[in-house]
Symmetry: C2
Subunit: 371 residues, 2 copies
């Protein structure tokens, strides 16, 4: 096999975008041989774009067709795990759009099925391909920042107008999407949070539901996370602020990195602050530091991730974004909801029963109100 | 009267610094005619610096001396209100070091005594004289930022080594100082928070006590505040991080200001985001904006505030930092302690009884442990 025969399930914005990337030659090791959508209009549109591929009106037909080696899942969030599990059962490699799912039990089951199948399983965390974040991860994981102290991420540049939410009836509903900014926009950042800084042991979150839009779900969030070693994380996101900010700061006892406006600013301490603190005689003195700065062109992340997925299938390359990782960012967002609903701390791993019961209740109330 | 005869009570670092400013000619309308300290060594040192002024070994003697029109209070925090009240009873103008006191009841009593006396009452919030913060306040209070949405202040550049805390046995103790970074370093920032952004109705705070130093009080804090209109504030401070950050961001429906590294960056929206959100047809579009930037030399704040205090006495000038305002920043820090101790929300105005009882308990335990 020198090319991966890819089937795309879900021909909305994302599925169409991925197919265009392949058709435009950005993914030479990928061929889109099939696609599926339950909406005839979307199917027709996709067919015009790519008449050589086979069009299916259901995921099941595509999965059973024998025309594909791998599947890209770009349907609404709730169905990511259900479709992925079917693919695994057919021995098909899978790359799913983010988030991995809506509730963690579902995603645990998906991960178990992936493991059992042994196929390649990726997730479209395209921002991992941004060299700034990859560099941050390298600095942190190599220990160059020392013992971690704090992360603060102000990621409020996910601005969306009411027109965005009006563009699909499933959007920003509990029953259709299962959440708001935490589940639709911020999963990238939640993933980078855990990828670079690790998983918190518990969170205290403050979610405002329908604060800036006529929607049921949250569009403004502040999460405070605590770590085993005492480190803390503050994560602030919204779709209701313009102009927003995207500024990530991470500090450890060996210095600090800040990523903002396409720059990674790294201040490196010459000795550990922890050692300095207890040895210096002057109470107001700070440890000496060196400064280094990185800039990089941000590549087309979707293409990088899809090509890497193909390489993993064809040559066994290591995945940049393994599908198994999807449960981490989802655990943070599930915990954030639990914390907001209970107005209290929420542990990670999350209380799955509580989460599912509350989500079900919200979804059912929503449906009732609509009737 | 063409010059204010000033008495300084407390000849530690701050009191000495203020006296030097006057002696060096930075405050031409002020003459230091007396000073007081209970420590003979400090008194002797002050006497050498300023042999023309009268030295007193107690605050009471200085207050009763008839040698001063106004008093600058630079003693440990607990005694700010008690000494201020004595000054007011003698009809003396007062400028107190920050914080206003340790618990709000004490400060309410001080404010009442000030009001009854009718004298000039200031507080050394010298950072209010920083043109960046004054500009921010002007932008916000004139409504140019519109309806306020969010404040995020990362103010982690208050680094102190263990040597600092070892330099005085009262430092960073509940009985001697009544708190840590919130009461000693961050009051400036807490004051600017309320001065620019207004008072939150309640806070949820996370305080780590003795996290980075061998001390009883907090040296790492994250405060989340909520406002009547739904706005939120996140405030992060520590004395345990190097290099620290000082970055203040405020957003409203008319734009955003960021103060960092001596610059105020102002993004002004051409129309209200709230209006834009519900009228634009494109879901991904953001409102148009203009950008303006300010830089300014930061003056010697202590001198500005002391000169303004003298002008208020001599010519009725408006105070930049009225003493009455001190209760606001103290209310935020008291509420933060209550929230951390209770592991729950804390309203503002604070539960004074709970706060005082807990502070007393911590102070007494501390004394017992020392014996």
């Amino acid at each position: 096999m020198d090319r991966v025969r890819l089937g795309i399930i879900g021909m909305g914005n994302m599925g169409t975008g991925h197919m265009k990337n392949v058709l435009e030659g950005h993914c030479p090791k990928v061929e889109v041989t099939a696609f599926a959508d339950i909406d005839p209009e979307k199917l027709e549109r996709a067919n015009k774009l790519n008449p050589d591929a086979k069009a299916f009106s259901s995921a099941d037909e595509l999965i059973a067709s024998g025309l594909v080696d791998a599947v890209l899942i770009a349907v609404p969030h709730y169905d990511h795990p259900t479709i992925a599990i079917k693919c695994f059962e057919h021995g098909l490699h899978v790359i799913t759009e983010k988030p991995a799912g809506v509730y963690t039990r579902q995603v645990r089951e998906m991960n178990a099925a992936a493991k059992k199948s042994g196929v390649v399983f990726g997730i479209m965390f395209n921002q991992r391909s941004n060299p700034m974040y990859a560099k941050a991860r390298e600095i942190v994981s190599s220990g160059q920042l020392g013992e971690l102290k704090r992360m603060v991420w102000i990621i409020t540049n996910w601005y969306r107008s009411q027109a965005y939410y009006n563009s699909g009836s499933w959007r920003a509903t509990w029953s259709g999407e299962g959440g708001g900014v935490l589940l639709n926009q911020a999963p990238h950042n939640l993933d980078l949070w855990q990828w670079i800084f690790g998983m918190p042991k518990r969170v205290r979150a403050f979610c405002d539901f329908g604060k800036y839009h006529d929607i049921a779900v949250e569009d403004d969030v502040t999460i405070f996370g605590q770590y085993e070693n005492g480190a803390t994380a503050t994560f602030i996101s919204t779709t209701g602020e313009a102009p927003g900010t995207n500024r990530l700061e991470i500090s450890g006892d060996r210095g600090k990195i800040v990523i903002e406006e396409g720059k990674l600013k790294w201040t490196k301490l010459k000795i550990s602050e922890r050692e300095f603190c207890y040895t210096v005689n002057n109470g107001f003195e700070s440890p000496e530091s060196e400064y280094e700065e990185f800039t990089a062109h941000e590549p087309s992340g979707h293409v990088v991730i899809l090509n890497n997925f193909a390489d993993a299938i064809l040559t066994g390359a290591e995945l940049i974004a393994p599908g198994y990782d999807g449960i981490n960012s989802l655990s943070i967002s599930n915990a954030a909801y639990i914390s907001a609903w209970k107005d209290d701390w929420a542990d990670i791993p999350v209380d799955e029963e509580f989460f599912e019961a509350k989500l079900k209740e919200l979804s059912e109330n929503e449906k009732k109100n609509r009737e």
